[in-house]
Subunit: 158 residues, 2 copies
DNA sequence: CAGAAAATGATATATTATAACACTTCATCA
DNA sequence: TGATGAAGTGTTATAATATATCATTTTCTG
């Protein structure tokens, strides 16, 4: 069984750090500005293994001493999602960091309803099935949402 | 190409009627009460080829002369979704009638971003891919959301 | 019919998201 | 290099979506 969800002992700070580095690269490539606010929101999202809501981000920023209003957070989120740096989890109204912002992919999200952790996976077999189905009915895909709720291995067994 | 979206000339009233009949059967089988309010909400949803929001339903019921508050609508929606008679489209915060309430299935929703119409499809290949992926990572599925946005054939070609 | 359970009504409020306009920062190029 | 415009953020207000709570009504069951 592959380790979809992070296992004990993984170095989370290092993940966040490398995500930041990659985000900078993506922004650079797109000539987009990775401003302070955007970096803060991105970092907060990446520091969580759960999906984070806009108002949780708002609270976290406020706790850091900023006085921030909803539009500020939503703008940062819009920027980050448009660049593919974070994904919105529709069924949670919440946001989650994307592992692979540098490539097109149809991500699936596994969401544990017990511990709340989220994991992104890429599954060619499923992506192909979706594409094939769309072609079969003459549908031109613009965006796809795949969210799978259930119990992660840890929660199912403990 | 199969006719995912309803074609001209299909008899919509007949669809709604048969959906109602099937809903009654499902409620009967579950010993659940298909009350007036639930029937009205169900019918309003089925009368639309688009996904319908709770507040659109509220407005429609009000227009029919009822004085209805949000909880009433949300309760009917909760009842109907729990029985599988309607599905919630997470990415639209809206509801759509389910063709096959009588069998377990992992539905995909094709949502046209131009005309707003929605179509449900069942795709074994994709369902299997999702199940297989979940097994591969030790994940126990409780619910799956697959929503595909893009252009339906009509909108893409006209 | 009495009593319990289920459903709905009614009021209030929580949560999520955006519109509109003012102000600031940043890139750029004359 | 500093005027200018575009991009980003601040601020206020409000829209859109959803739920908690308690009162009342309806339905089921014995």
């Amino acid at each position: 069984m592959s380790d979809l969800f992070p296992k004990k002992g993984h170095d989370h700070d290092r993940c966040v750090h490398s995500a930041l580095a990659q985000a900078e690269k993506v922004c650079d490539a797109e000539n987009a500005r990775f401003t302070d606010m955007r970096r803060k929101v991105f970092t907060l999202i990446w520091q969580s293994h759960k999906a984070v809501t806009a108002y949780e981000l708002l609270d976290a920023l406020t706790a850091e001493g900023q006085r921030v209003q909803p539009p500020t957070v939503y703008r940062a989120l819009e920027f980050l999602t448009e660049l593919g740096l974070v994904h919105r989890i529709e069924s949670l109204n919440a946001y989650f960091g994307c592992d692979r912002p540098d490539c097109e992919h149809l991500g699936q999200y596994f969401i544990c309803t017990d511990c709340g952790r989220v994991a992104e996976a890429v599954n060619e077999e499923m992506s192909n099935a979706v594409r094939k189905a769309a072609i079969g009915v003459g549908f031109t895909i613009q965006a796809t949402t795949v969210e799978i709720k259930g119990l992660c291995h840890d929660c199912a067994t403990h």
